[in-house]
Amino acid sequence: MSSAASTKKAVRKTSKKRAYETSEINAQLSKEEKIELYRTIVGIRRFEERSLQAYNQGKIGGFLHLYIGQEAVATGIVSLMEENDHIITAYRDHGHALAVGMNMNECMAELFGKYTGCSKGKGGSMHYFAPDKGFWGGHGIVAGQTPLGAGLAFALKYKGLKGCAVCFLGDGAVNQGSFMETLNLVSLWGIPVVFVIENNGYSMGTSLKRSSAEESLAKRGEAFGIKWDTCEGHDVFEVREKANEAMTYARDELKPFLLEIRTYRYRGHSVADANHEKYRTKEEIETYKKNKDPINVLRKKLIADKTLTEASAKEIDQEKKVEADASAKFAEESPYPPKSELTNDVYWTVDNDTDQQLKGTYFFND
């Protein structure tokens, strides 16, 4: 692809209405698989709404970066993961965690800082991990996860395994040096990583126009010889089709891909972001919700193709509400980690020093 002309073409191409649900990768979905996509999207929404409630009740401290509005992105991409694929993301990570199959209990308990949390209460909202499910976090520093994502993919290539790593980042992360360094490296070395820019339009309170000199973020791939594309993130079928092309390319060609997915977050940057109706209009939020809410969009499509009925959709919704409530109860009733846990999980060698062979002092507490 070359210069501005191709950018316009790419943008035009994606804005064209296409029936993504009938494209090959989506047409092959069974009824159960489609229902599962819906259950995941609804589950993320209900989990986060319940977590917001707990935050407002003072049960959750620190930051809470909600994914509400963006659910179809993680759901769609995770549904495409194959045996050797891995994913990694930044701090807005609840959706990715639930999509890979982490359960609400461990996720909610982590928010509460409880011992039963997925990281034993040591990581919090921004630091969920499930390596057994190919999910490598959950990282707190903007773009800090991007070289790590490249590393996961490097390891696949090094070990001769066919697969790819999908590294999610936000539209704010594209302006970090570590990301730009990484783009060069993965293209230079032929690393099978797909960078997915979840472009929700705002890096914290600063709009895309005010933070990026060139509004097409994926186009930056051209500077590094990286293939790129854009798509909309409210329709899980569109996400799946575009991401499938990107992931297949990475796996087959051993090359990186840069995919920009335009999405929207309904809530602030974090719950503590009191200004999120000041740097954007209420109307803008409401318009997106009305026309592009990923749950509504998917529900309508699944009712239209008779996968769901109004009643069965409602049933799923109810079931996820109950599950989210139960997770809050589980978290509430769970214990905090004992003080002895403070110095566990710092060093692998200390944690595994069962026969006391290690020499020297590792911790320096008087």
Binding site: H86, I88, G117, C118, S119, K120, G121, K122, G123, H127, F129, A130, P131, D132, W136, G137, G138, H139, G140, I141, G144, T146, P147, L148, G149, A150, G151, L152, A153, F154, A155, L156, Y158, K159, A165, G177, S178, E181, T182, N184, L185, L188, T343, N344, D345, V346, Y347, W348, T349, D351, N352, L358, K359, G360, T361, Y362, F363, F364, D366
Partner: protein, 325 residues
């Protein structure tokens, strides 16, 4: 026992570990085709090829982070920093990701990487290329750091570092690369967390690490010859983990301690050692603990002044005499 250079000893360690474990690879600027900026990796690319010896662009954040990510899936990268000073460009990757990922995941992962390269002043290159960040690394629970002072330790500690399942920084020294020591031909490792008594003594303990251990040893010889002072010299070798027992046993024997390091004094490694001694051997002390560190200013370029800025025999002897006065 053959006499080999510090540089050769490190290269042997790298080569042996590459042969031993297919997951060990080396990444860094100029490590492969150029044979290493300081020739530590000379010949390794010819022998082991592109897969194991990997030249990187000048992108410390990207290749450090990539190494960390790859290590999560079982690759064991040895990352060369051309100067340890350049690790600052990769600060977030090394000091957030390498150090804390295990903890933040509640122990679900580990990061078996080695970050190695020269961390020293005294080379007339000014402040940006003369950092000794072992104190900085040691201040990050989750990271380990060793400072070999001689070829034997450099090889043995490097092999331990590569086999370690946690991130380990190996602080080398350009002024030692060409120096020779006896190194056995048989395989050996030097465990982390074990200090080395370089010279036994009864009058005072000089506790030190890195190249300062060699300077301290020379100072101890002069002290014996000219002042009839029998100093014990303890080379820490490993900063974190730290061999507290050897330090305390020595101080309990000599009742006096001079701490010598190339770090700047404020929050240097020796600030911690000093605390340890006063806290755990207070009643054994006959004098306050003395310190010889780099003089507390950014590293100066001008050679005669830089030679004075970092610890030398003269400053060590002066400090020992003060401590014994």
């Amino acid at each position: 026992m053959p006499l080999i250079t510090y540089r050769e000893a490190i290269k042997q360690a790298l080569a042996e570990e590459i042969e031993r474990d297919e997951n060990v690879c080396i990444l860094g600027e100029e490590v492969a085709q150029y044979n290493g900026a300081y020739k530590v990796t000379e010949g390794l690319w010819d022998k082991y090829g592109d897969k194991r010896i990997i030249d990187t662009p000048i992108s410390e954040a990207a290749f450090s982070g990539l190494a960390i990510g790859a290590s999560m899936l079982g690759v064991r990268p040895v990352v060369e920093m051309m100067f340890m000073s350049f690790s600052y460009v990769a600060f977030d990757q090394l000091f957030n990701n390498a150090s804390f990922c295990r903890y933040m995941s509640g122990g679900l992962m580990n990061v078996p990487i080695v970050v190695r390269g020269p961390a020293n002043g005294g080379t007339n290159v000014g402040a940006t290329h003369s950092h000794t960040p072992e104190n900085l690394v040691a201040n990050h629970p989750g990271l380990k750091v060793v400072c070999p002072s001689n070829a034997y330790d450099a090889k043995g500690l490097m092999k331990s570092a590569i086999r370690d399942n946690d991130p380990v920084f190996v602080m080398e020294n350009t002024l030692l690369y060409g120096e020779k020591w006896e190194v056995p031909e048989e395989e050996y490792v030097v465990e982390l967390g074990v200090a080395n008594v370089l010279k036994e003594g009864s009058d005072i303990s000089i506790i030190t690490h890195g190249r300062c251990a060699m300077i301290s040893l020379k100072a101890a010889e002069i002290l014996a010859e000219k002042h009839s002072i029998n100093a014990e010299v303890i080379d820490l070798r490993s900063i974190r983990p730290l061999d507290e027992t050897t330090i305390l046993n020595s101080v309990k024997k000599t009742h006096r301690a001079v701490l010598v390091e190339e770090n700047k004094p404020f929050c240097g490694v020796d600030a911690q050692i000093s605390h340890l001694i006063q806290y755990k051997a207070f009643d054994d002390l006959d004098a306050p603990v003395h310190r010889v560190s780099a003089i507390d200013a950014p590293q100066i370029y001008s050679k005669p002044l830089e030679d004075w800025q970092i610890p030398n025999e003269e400053r060590i002897i002066e400090s020992v005499l003060k401590c014994l006065a």
